[in-house]
């Protein structure tokens, strides 16, 4: 169906400003934060209300038009890459905080509310929303639900799935679904857990109820330097083994500290092969006890230098380096490609060494930031998108890291999602029968296959082709063909 006809059908019930059809209006929506994948959407639709959103779904369903939902566009796996003949459904205008109940410690939100705004709104009650992805200033709660977003504090406070109590929304067919809610453990299958992290393939969420928790009165950060990545990895396991669950446990390798230090001026030890950032939060007495213990464990594990943040300003400065790792990569290189594999913690040293060898093989630099506490790696591969060969190498470098993660009992994505980016890697992690089970889930929710089609679940043909390419090792056949 022609875009003009779809636009006409939508404009019958939507105000003029809700449908963007001119090319220059659609252009800003052609990609999310993974800019390597671009596709101009057929139309962009921005409803103001839940009712309008429902009518968009019903209309598209009737006309057989694909719908791709988009929150703030901060996704890192191309999950909201538009469909050329489809509607890009932006939830940005559904951005009201509907309710904050400080006694029950919940917030009810429209999907377009930015993550950080929830905590800002709850601050007057001493409460906050725990999941804190690095993009929290911009990323939306609806997008967090779609991706099951994490952050640096999820070791102690959990992922989105642990902090969302319920969602309300619609299937592509227009059925209202209210999953979970304020009362825990409702009847039937746990479709709430299934929906969280489903990358917009199952339903469109129009309301999210989240858990708020009290802001800990005090936090302190311990920074430790290690002469080699192996002992840093061992130290991580040692902290956990003593029975401590720190608020955050992050690792950065020398390439990463060297990249951020010149402009973040965080005060990192640039002689260390790796540094650990270990945070403790709670009451002042609790934090004092725990920090003492953390320092002891890290020293025993071979830390060469150890510092404890002496003030809130210092704590935030040490964090600023970690949180600016990606912009720092942007300063070092025209483009960067951030990976997101997860491994059992005990393999961290081994993986970092393997990545070092791959750097030589692919002739590309890679810096590593790492949610060490929960085994989530973020290798950042530096490349130049204007040089096609450089991007191809970066892609293969990334894919090889993910394959290693799978071999070691981990996964290809810890928090960024599959989107379009990791479709090939899905072929590596899952068997045909497992992928068929994902397809079955998709069909149950969306029999017509109109919601975010082509994402997350690779086709059999695609996996067969990828298998053949991997057999040839190294040089990809037909390197000039677009693969995404």
């Amino acid at each position: 169906m022609a875009e003009a006809d779809i636009a006409a059908a939508l404009r019958k019930f939507l105000p003029e400003d809700c449908v963007l059809s001119r090319e220059e209006e659609r252009r800003p929506y052609e990609c999310d934060a993974l800019t390597a994948f671009r596709q101009l959407p057929g139309l962009v639709v921005l409803p103001h209300t839940e009712q309008q959103l429902l009518e968009v779904l019903l209309t598209c369903s009737r006309l057989g038009v694909p719908v791709v939902a988009r929150g703030a566009g901060t996704g890192l796996s191309g999950g909201s890459t538009p469909h050329a003949q489809g509607v890009l459904l932006s939830c940005a205008r559904l951005n009201r905080i509907l309710e904050i109940d400080p006694h029950a410690r919940i917030a009810r939100l429209e999907p377009g509310v930015p993550n950080l705004r929830v905590s800002e709104a709850a601050a007057e009650h001493g409460l906050y929303y725990a999941p804190d992805p690095s993009s929290q200033v911009a990323c939306s709660i609806g997008g967090n639900v779609a991706e099951n977003s994490g952050g640096v504090h999820c070791l102690k406070y959990g992922l989105t799935v642990h902090n969302v109590l319920g969602v309300r929304g619609y299937t592509m067919e227009g059925d209202l679904l209210e999953l979970g809610g304020r009362a825990p453990d409702g009847p039937g299958l746990d479709l709430l857990a299934l929906t969280i992290g489903s990358e917009g393939l199952l339903m469109i969420v129009t309301e999210v109820t989240v858990k708020l928790i009290p802001r800990p009165p005090c936090a302190q950060l311990v920074m430790a330097s290690f002469a080699d990545v192996h002992s840093a990895g061992t130290a991580v396991a040692a902290v956990i083994a003593t029975g401590i669950i720190p608020a955050a446990l992050e690792m950065m390798d020398r390439q990463a500290t060297a990249a951020v230090e010149p402009f973040a001026r965080a005060g990192y030890d640039l002689t260390a092969a790796a540094i650990l950032l270990v945070e403790s939060d709670g009451t002042p007495e609790e934090v004092a006890d725990q920090v003492r213990e953390i320092v002891h464990v890290l020293r025993t594990a071979g830390a060469s230098t150890l510092r404890v943040s002496g003030s809130e300003a210092e704590r935030l400065r040490w964090w600023s380096g970690r949180k600016n790792a990606f912009p720092a990569a942007g300063r070092l290189s025209p483009d960067y490609y951030c990976m997101d594999g997860t491994i059992p913690r005990r393999h961290v040293g081994e993986v970092l060494q393997a990545i070092e060898r791959m750097e030589t093989r692919y002739a590309l630099r890679c810096m590593n930031v790492f949610h060490a506490g929960d085994g989530n790696l973020h290798p950042v591969i530096l490349f130049d998108a204007n040089d096609h060969d450089s991007w191809e190498r970066a892609e293969r470098f990334g894919a090889e890291i993910l394959e290693l993660c799978v071999q070691l009992g981990g996964t290809i994505t810890g928090e960024h999602g599959v989107g379009v980016e990791k479709l090939n890697s899905m072929c590596v992690q899952f068997s045909p029968a497992e992928r068929a089970a994902f397809a079955a889930v998709k069909e149950a929710f969306d029999p017509a296959g109109l919601l975010n089609p082509g994402k997350v679940i690779p086709t059999l043909a695609r996996c067969a082709e990828y298998g053949r390419m991997r057999v040839h090792h190294g040089a990809l056949p037909h390197a000039d063909l677009p693969r995404f």
């Binding site: 299934l194 956990i240 009992g409 069909e443």
Partner: protein, 356 residues
């Protein structure tokens, strides 16, 4: 041991394939301690207890992986040896349940609203599907968003989508300090207090009320527990009495559970007292309310709905099913998922939902 487990698994697959061919319903059973739970028990019994054993446990990874028939007691003992535990405190009814049954039922104990539910700790599963395929979802890592979260979907599925043959669970270190306080309080004040303390950051890990007394369990770092105790007041229980109380609550062993009819209501944690006659047993800081022997003319489900929750008929004659009825759109999704995971309807037919 591995060969034995493989042999047991091969036999299970054979039984499933046979059932698939003959369209014979299978009634999945671990230890059989939850036969009372669910809508109906039909089909030929398929014993899963023999597929047992801890496959992997690395304390510093905070993950344990076990085959479905592994007794809960074995898992808890292995964890205790390293100062760790299953923070969702799964209830056991009588004999020793299997971990597969624990996860298939998805029930959680007193720590549920504070530490998380069973599904919050499920990291990965292996599933024997309707057509005899072995499928693996999730894994042994904390963060994993590759594909849909089928592992958590299986938690609480009562086996209708397939046989959970193996499960990986996140475990936690036992709190450094724990203390239980008892206060004389009316039910409404107790629920109000549980919520208020939680909002203030008091490290509560259990909030219950019964027969005029509120029980508050505090868990965490010693200084935090100490200052919370001073703030809350009340009578501090000795360790043995505290342990006995929380175990009785967790495993449904209080005298209320001798009643002929028992309803389990899940409501918003801050909901005021319900208009049901009789005094409830309250758990989960107010979110779980047990009622015994309500008068016949009381419509428990309607009252639960009015409070924003749902009601499960735990024991006694169940009006229109044990579980709270699902809205039509949700029931349709259940049917579609069942048809796709188990096209011949062989696994625990009708146990979670009539006709599914």
């Amino acid at each position: 041991m591995a060969a034995t487990a493989d042999a047991v698994l091969a036999e299970l697959r054979e039984r499933v394939s046979a059932a698939h061919r003959t369209r014979q319903g299978l009634r999945l059973r671990g230890s059989g301690t939850k036969d009372f739970y669910g809508e109906s028990l039909t089909g030929e019994v398929l014993e899963l207890r023999t597929h047992q054993g801890i496959v992997d446990y690395e304390p510093s990874e905070l993950v344990i992986t076990a085959r479905c028939g592994t007794p809960l007691s074995e898992i808890e003992a292995a964890l205790a040896a390293h100062g760790q535990f299953l923070a969702f405190e799964p209830p056991a009814f009588g004999a020793d349940p299997s971990i597969g049954g624990v996860i298939a039922a998805g029930l959680s104990g007193p720590r549920r609203v504070y530490a998380g539910a069973a599904r919050d700790f499920v990291l990965g599963t292996r599933l024997l599907s309707g057509d005899g395929e072995m499928l693996r979802f999730g894994g042994q890592v904390m963060k994993n968003v590759a594909g849909f979260d089928v592992s958590r979907l299986l938690c609480g599925s009562l086996g209708i989508l397939g046989i959970i043959t193996e499960v990986s669970l996140k475990v936690l270190p036992r709190p450094r300090a724990e203390e239980t306080l008892r206060l004389e309080l009316p039910a409404a004040a107790a629920v109000e207090s549980f919520n208020r303390w939680s909002a203030l950051g008091v490290p509560i890990s259990g909030g219950a009320w019964w027969q005029g007394s509120a029980w508050v369990r505090l868990s965490g770092a010693p200084p935090a527990v100490r200052s919370a105790r001073e703030r809350i007041g009340g009578e501090a229980l000795d360790a043995a009495s505290a342990q006995a109380w929380w175990a009785a609550l967790r495993h449904c062993q209080l005298p209320l559970f001798d009643s002929r009819v028992i309803w389990r209501l899940s409501v918003p944690g801050a909901a005021p007292p319900l208009t049901l006659p009789g005094e409830p047993l309250i758990d989960w800081g107010g979110a779980l309310r047990w009622y015994a022997d309500p008068p016949d003319d009381v419509d428990v489900r309607t009252l639960a709905c009015a409070a924003g929750g749902t009601a499960l008929c735990w024991r006694g004659p169940a009006p229109a099913g044990r579980f709270h009825p699902l809205p039509p759109a949700l029931a349709r999704l259940h049917r579609r998922l069942k048809e796709r995971f188990d096209p011949h309807g062989i696994f625990n037919p009708g146990r979670l939902l009539a006709g599914v």
